[in-house]
Subunit: 643 residues, 2 copies
């Protein structure tokens, strides 16, 4: 132990000198210029994996091929393409009709949106399982947000213009996020937020379908549960029992088929085929019984023909610009979240990787192109991708197949839909969105983390009772506030020695851990920065005071506190306020007759401590140790001396 005493008495400025085998030096990370640091940091922030790694060491020609494959994933999978069976893509197009209605748009727009975007995505998208088209939640949000600016019944043309413009902005926003590699913005939609949001949206969407399910003619334009339910029960005279009976029959059939498909994977063809069967049967029933004369509303006559160009319909004048941009932003984020989540889910099932940023560019471009070809906002649809996945589609070609089916429908089958009842589409949508209410997931969240459950609940209640966009905003705000609160109010933990070892751990967690007389060992579990230095300042005083009080009431009165050891192992960063805090802590503990010891500062923290030490010297000899154990062993002789 003499070695240590000497070291401390030499009065050198050198930090953490190694003079004994038991004590190890705290190293500084190798010097790096600010420019290099910024480069590395930027790369790590924007590119979790190095995108150029696959190019390394390849011949030039191969490099070109790889670059082309990177930009157009179609080249990646097309050579290995094998045809899969034709599926019920007709139903996808038909539910698109209902989704368009959810957004208060003409039915044909739903079909158009199931045609062009899948083609664009099949060229640009990197996921092989995602099925692209209009989706319920984004349709709902777009409809409700645009209705604040224009009345779809009074001025349908203006409304369509606004919807196309909002789609354009959504695409622009999505593509920019991808190009600027800011994809992490959608990470702020946490799982808890999404579970609540999906469940709430499913309820709102289902309630909207009550209109068609009951055949009500006059219906509220609002989205909330309260206005919809009051609208349903104030118009009981408009209920059409024929429609309701038909709707309930088909809904029951679809739910049973869905249940059967989920219970026995072998029967999944039933749940996939049921919607198409329902459409065919109901259309035939209406046609044969002339049921449209008995109060059952049908889709009505649709004109044959493919998408027409619509870039001349985009409106960029001042009066509606803020509405369309806001709508584009919100629907853009919501549809991105759904698209990327479905892409990632199925990619992880098949062990391949989806690049979030590329995916964003693909979805964004698809929407920009869509807005110029009479399509409204579309994205990768979770429920339809699951159908594709179960049916065994292995490449993005499924989107081409689907687009072809929809194209044939647009060209040839449009007159047939004149007799398809709206009620059966309503039943198909309800049966589809029911799956979005994930009660077991909510239960797990409750069991794991009460705050997350609160986020989930507030997102659900916000969507159901306030509005879709505000429910989302509340949930995101809450989750972000929680992160900030954890940083702003970090835990300061007292460590104790686990007997028989040199390990020091939280005394609250490890009951066997014992305090060392003369030492107070504290660990801070957060970056030390401007947002928490004030708190830490007040807190450490309180902790030290309490510790001394407790200690002096114990038997070991003579071994008074000599050293305050601050374990920085869990402090990833400090900023200037943090450095000032550590500097002032050193001074104020010295005033109280204590010596402050820092243990295991990490790379960045160590670097800043050294820099601060150059400006204003505050790291004395031996005030840095590599582990708490070494610090306690080295400093124990001084306790006994003073005692």
């Amino acid at each position: 132990m003499e070695g240590e005493c000497m070291r401390r008495e030499e009065g050198q400025v050198e930090i953490g000198v190694v003079t004994s085998e038991a004590v190890h030096r705290v190293a500084e990370p190798p010097p790096q210029s600010t420019v290099d640091k910024v480069k590395v940091r930027m790369k790590e922030t924007f590119f979790p994996d190095d995108p150029f790694r696959r190019f390394k060491g390849q011949p030039l020609k191969r490099k070109w091929v790889l670059a082309a494959q990177y930009l157009f994933p179609v080249l990646d999978w097309a050579p290995s393409y094998s045809f899969s069976l034709f599926k019920s893509d007709l139903v996808a197009g038909l539910t698109g009709i209902s989704y368009a209605k959810l957004a208060s748009l003409p039915p044909a727009v739903g079909l158009y949106t199931s045609f062009v975007p899948p083609l664009v995505y099949s060229v640009l998208g990197s996921s092989r399982d995602v099925a692209v088209g209009p989706v319920s939640i984004a349709s709902l949000v777009m409809g409700s947000m645009l209705r604040q600016a224009a009345n779809p019944n009074a001025d349908p043309y203006l409304f369509l213009q606004l919807a196309l413009t909002a789609t354009f902005f959504a695409g622009l926003f999505q593509a920019s996020l991808g190009i600027l590699r800011l994809g992490f913005i959608i990470d702020f939609l946490s799982k808890a937020t999404l579970v609540g949001f999906m469940a709430g949206s499913a309820i709102i969407v289902s309630l909207q379908q009550l209109r068609n399910l009951l055949g009500i003619v006059h219906f509220t334009k609002k989205m909330g549960v309260v206005p919809v339910m009051s609208s349903v029960f104030h118009n009981t005279n408009e209920w059409s029992w024929e429609t309701a009976a038909m709707g309930i029959c088909f809904l029951a059939f679809l739910l049973l088929a869905r249940h059967a498909g989920m219970r026995r994977p072998k029967l999944s063809w039933i749940s996939v085929g049921a919607p198409l069967a329902s459409v065919v049967v109901s259309t035939l029933v209406v046609f044969l019984l002339k049921a449209q004369n008995h109060g059952i509303s049908t889709i009505g006559k649709l004109r044959c023909g493919l998408n027409r160009p619509s870039w001349d319909k985009l409106l960029f004048d001042g009066t509606h610009l803020s509405t369309t941009m806001k709508t584009g932003l919100v629907t853009g984020i919501i549809s991105l979240a759904e698209g990327i989540a479905s892409g990632r889910t199925f990619a992880s099932l098949r062990s391949y990787k989806v690049d979030g940023n590329k995916e964003m560019m693909a979805i964004g471009l698809m929407n920009i192109v869509g807005s110029c070809t009479s399509c409204y906002v579309s994205t990768g649809a979770f429920s339809r991708s699951a159908v594709n996945h179960n049916a065994g589609c292995k490449t993005a070609m499924s989107n081409v197949v689907m687009a072809t089916t929809v194209m044939l429908t647009l060209l040839l089958l449009m007159p047939l839909f004149a007799y398809t009842p709206n009620v059966v589409l309503a039943a198909i949508i309800i049966a589809a969105v029911v799956g979005l209410v994930d009660v077991p997931a909510a239960c797990n969240i409750w069991k794991l983390d009460k705050v997350d459950f609160l986020v989930c609940l507030s997102s659900f209640l916000g969507v159901v009772f306030v509005s879709v966009q505000q429910g989302l905003a509340i949930a995101i705000g809450l989750s972000t506030f929680r992160i900030l609160l954890q940083i702003t109010r970090p835990k300061m933990i007292a460590l104790g020695n686990i007997p028989g070892t040199s390990i020091y751990r939280d005394m609250h967690q490890y009951k066997e851990a014992k305090g060392v007389p003369g030492f107070l060992i504290l660990a801070i579990e957060a970056p030390i920065n401007f947002s928490n230095t004030t708190y830490l300042n007040e807190r450490h005083v309180a902790v030290i005071t309490r510790w001394i009080e407790n200690e002096t009431t114990m038997e070991d009165k003579e071994a008074s506190l000599r050293f305050l050891i601050l374990d920085l192992s869990a402090v990833p960063t400090v900023d200037t306020s943090g450095i000032t805090f550590l500097n002032e802590l050193k001074k104020s503990t010295e005033k109280d007759g204590l010596e402050l010891i820092f243990v295991n500062p990490m790379g960045e923290v160590m670097e800043k401590l050294q820099r601060a030490n150059k400006i204003q010297e505050f790291l004395g000899v031996g005030s840095l140790y590599l582990t708490v154990g070494e610090a306690v062993i080295s400093l124990s002789p001084f306790i006994k001396e003073s005692a």
Copy 2:
């Protein structure tokens, strides 16, 4: 080593069984109900120190005395009060006149604001050094924000009403922050933000004074550097050389006096006395030379009399409500920041504590009372508090002394100011705010932390070139974004063994640290939550891939990777997304033929891992260790077996 092998082969579900002396159990923190957790968490969040601790074990009578002292700090210090010398409080009142002009308010309001608020603060405030009154920056912000709603020249009465109402809202907001214990909101004004903000504001305030210094009559109403400078140089014909000469003389005198006072603490009486001397001399000069006829503008006639009640002037009608509330919010936060910062600075110099939340209530109530007695927003002024501190004031009685001086001025001396030239007040203000430009602090920030410097710079440039409130908003946004980015893109560090020890540290920081064949040891340096799980997922795959590539290029090809050790020592919290990440990581590493080992999860993390394990078992036997060293020692035999 046989003990370990047995343990791993027994197939028990028990976690981290202790069968060998070398291996220690990872403990769970003692169980605690959610309600208890919320209680403890709330207490720690809102009360860094237990406010009721001082009441413990005291007799009832003493408790009442302590409670009264807690609510009215005047009772705390009044008994130990000793009179300090009468000081230059007259100057404080007079600069108040200039500050009122900065806010486009009548000069007398500045004097009123130096009378009532100090009295209120002396009863409620907990700081003994802070001098209360109007301050430059808050005046400037209030003036510029209210001028968007009303023209102070065309409708001075409406403008005064708005200012009083904004003051009322500022007080209400400040008091609510204190009562709700949300004081940490002002912590988000980091030191870097404040350094830039203060410097920028000093420049804006000084430029505004150019009007009086040069005697310009027609001056811009804007705040930015560009409009002010163009206003100065477009009205060169209005420059009055008499005024300019007088201003420059007095400014030079004041700056010299300030310099002398700072260089030699013994001469500090010069810098304290200089402003009063300037006022007296300049007033005499103007009176004797009848200089007001030579283009030197003076304060002019002021009516004698104390503050009149003004609660009838508060305006709560709809048209101006949003402006006054917004102005109240911004000036409230800015003045709180200055008040609390000055309180804390001088408290730490004298080693006593200022309770931020109590201080907020005091400042808030002071402004509410002020708004009802013809005062506009006031707070603890840093520069004046420094004067008090240097003059040796030891109790808050200095505020009473100052209020008395101002009262005598209001009652008796008002006619004398008829001859006080505005230019000398401008010189006093410029000399005062020059001290706010803290270049050495900015240099230190640059040396310590480049991002903080960016925050500082953007706050400075924003204030100077855009506007005071937006400059502040940009800086706060940047600092908050930085915190979120650190969480969203956490570092994943590869650890290595320091030869001859069982210590594992960052291989980048410690060059001597060596990887252990067959093990990849990673540490995550942030809470694992929804905002970073996507990133971590992509990142860990990249890190593992790169590691395997590097390893196989090394000589030790046969010792292929068997174990992935994840050191959770620096992970303070996880949420449900984090748990899902760890769960999926376990599965995906198993697919790759790796075994995932968790090391040293902290209390909360351990608790959630256990809870998740109950729902869906994923922590196998021996997948938890207390230290990396123990994990490596225990698992090494398996590497050799497989090799």
